[in-house]
């Protein structure tokens, strides 16, 4: 240690629309801050090495890996988790489509899938199945198989595009 710089960091951020202030150890990862300190256990800690996507949350409008970001780096940021996105209704149609198509079994991957899928559907209005496949390739599901997930995302993308055209 250089003993010149802090090991405890003060952060102020917004989480699911609410202001949060906390003092965190420098080594606290964002996913652990959300789950352990704030009790927001929707996003999961799976591999914790950036591989599986279970920890996906939205930071400043983009989906990121909560396990490869320090809580200290989220100072000043706007963070949304599956809890907040459920509450506002933003992903209600995705959630319904996942249920309707059996796109989840244990549900471990689902919060990450939903956050990633919402970013995809919001940014690419009419994604092809190949594009959906490619964009979700960073999110692993160990139970369901991916076809149902792709079906659900495709259905929502089409429904939203249709709704916009009408």
């Amino acid at each position: 240690m250089t003993d010149m710089f802090p090991q405890q960091i003060d952060v102020a951020l917004s989480v699911n629309g609410e202001a949060v202030e906390a003092r965190v150890p420098a080594g606290r990862h964002l996913i652990d801050f959300l789950r352990l300190d704030l009790g927001l256990t929707g996003a999961h800690a799976g591999c914790e090495h950036g591989v599986c996507g279970a920890c996906t949350v939205r930071v400043d409008g983009r989906s990121v890996r909560g396990c490869l970001m320090l809580a200290a780096q989220a100072h000043g940021a706007e963070v949304w988790t599956v809890e907040g996105l459920s509450e506002t209704g933003e992903i209600a149609d995705l959630q319904e489509a996942f249920v309707a198509r059996n796109a989840l079994q244990c549900g471990f991957c689902t919060p990450g899938m939903l956050v990633a899928a919402q970013e995809l559907v919001a940014s690419a209005p009419a994604p092809t199945r190949e594009q959906i496949r490619e964009r979700l390739s960073g999110n692993y599901c160990r139970c369901t198989g991916y076809e149902a997930i792709i079906d659900a995302v495709e259905a929502v993308a089409q429904a939203r595009a249709g709704g916009a055209a009408r």
Binding site: T2, G50, S63, V64, A116, E130, E134
Partner: protein, 351 residues
């Protein structure tokens, strides 16, 4: 993970001063460094978070027709940039073939350039690795390492550089702008990563405390436009590191090649610019024979570093096919599977 201190400097000068201390490391997107800190392969005592430094997050046109990209621009934003897509499509294709959307949202230009090798022995602190620990030898030597180098490796280290981004950058003669304790300087991207020799722990041309502030893509490379492609061969066709890859660009007039660029990825500790292959192409007709001859020239010095002789022929075929794709020109729309040999890129051209 070991305990560490954290600093969020507000100027480049403050960042450089802090990071010049022994045990300090820059933290950008964190997608590589935090991972290595969790495995124990890296253990900095101080993280200098450079993601909020002012002025490093823009993409600007250069007067020569090139582009200057700030070191903190996220990989996803580089890939989205209209001028980048128009003038340097193979850079975009390479970026989109790497990692996943969420990782590209986090990863920065500077961090991508300096990402460490994926060699499993480097990543495992229990293994001997002279790249990680000076003088420690190399447990990876003679292991069945599909990721290991076939060019430019030494008895001390067989690791390969994993970056997709760096491969077209090497082909395009990109320049890296650096700020350090001694002021500002430029390093050619081709010189940024060092071959291991007897000192594999000296991974880059950067001195302690030196910070990448920007990347310049010279206008000369913009002339290739859509006649430039990146092709990446991997164990599965999305979300995997390259086994081998190639960035190729061609300028053809009147049925003859006037200018050619070729660089290979996954084969060496640095993105491998194949100048001999480029020279062999000049004046030739852009056909399969010329591309194969160029690929042979590119791999002439290659030798297996273990159980990976297959990569040499794979690299030849990948290089030849990337050249053929470059000659045909990139499609209007980026394929759904960027850089994949299985992307919808017209008739299958089995190499």
């Amino acid at each position: 993970m070991r305990k560490f201190e954290y600093l969020r400097p507000t100027s480049v000068e403050e960042a450089v001063a802090a990071a010049s201390r022994p045990g300090a490391a820059y933290l950008a997107g964190g997608t590589n460094l935090l991972d290595l800190m969790k495995t124990g392969a890296a253990g900095p005592e101080l993280l200098v978070d450079v993601t909020r430094l002012p002025g490093l997050d823009a993409i600007e046109p250069l007067t020569d027709g090139g582009l200057r990209v700030g070191a903190m621009v996220r990989n996803a934003d580089v890939a989205r940039d209209a001028a980048m897509r128009r003038n340097f499509p193979m850079v975009v294709e390479a970026l989109l073939s790497g990692a996943s959307g969420q990782l590209r949202n986090m990863a920065t230009v500077g961090g991508n350039l300096l990402q460490r090798t994926r060699c499993a022995w480097f990543q495992t602190p229990e293994a001997a690795c002279g790249r990680r620990d000076p003088g420690a030898g190399c447990d990876a030597r003679d292991q069945a390492g599909r990721s290991h180098a076939v060019l430019g490796w030494s008895e001390r280290c067989v690791a390969a550089n994993p970056s997709d981004f760096c491969v077209p950058l090497a082909a395009l003669d990109a320049q890296v702008e650096i700020a350090g304790p001694g002021g500002r300087r430029d390093v050619a991207l081709r010189e940024l990563h060092r071959l291991p020799g007897d000192t594999p722990h000296v991974e880059t041309a950067l001195a302690p405390g030196e910070l990448i502030v920007a990347l310049r893509l010279p206008g000369a490379g913009a002339g290739f436009g859509r006649f430039s492609r990146y092709l990446k061969v991997r164990e599965r066709t999305s979300y995997a590191f390259a086994l081998v890859s190639a960035a190729a660009a061609l300028r053809v007039e009147g049925g003859a090649i006037l200018e050619a660029r070729l660089a290979l990825g996954g084969v060496a500790a640095r993105p491998w610019r194949a100048v001999e292959a480029e020279a062999a192409l000049i004046g030739a007709a852009p056909d399969a024979g010329a591309f194969r001859a160029a690929a042979e020239a590119a791999l002439e010095a290659a030798r297996p570093s273990g159980d990976n002789a297959f990569k040499i022929e794979l690299a030849r075929r990948t290089a030849a096919r990337a050249l053929a794709l470059a000659a045909a020109g990139a499609p209007e729309r980026m394929p759904a599977l960027p850089a994949s040999p299985f992307a919808d890129i017209g008739a299958p051209a089995h190499a």
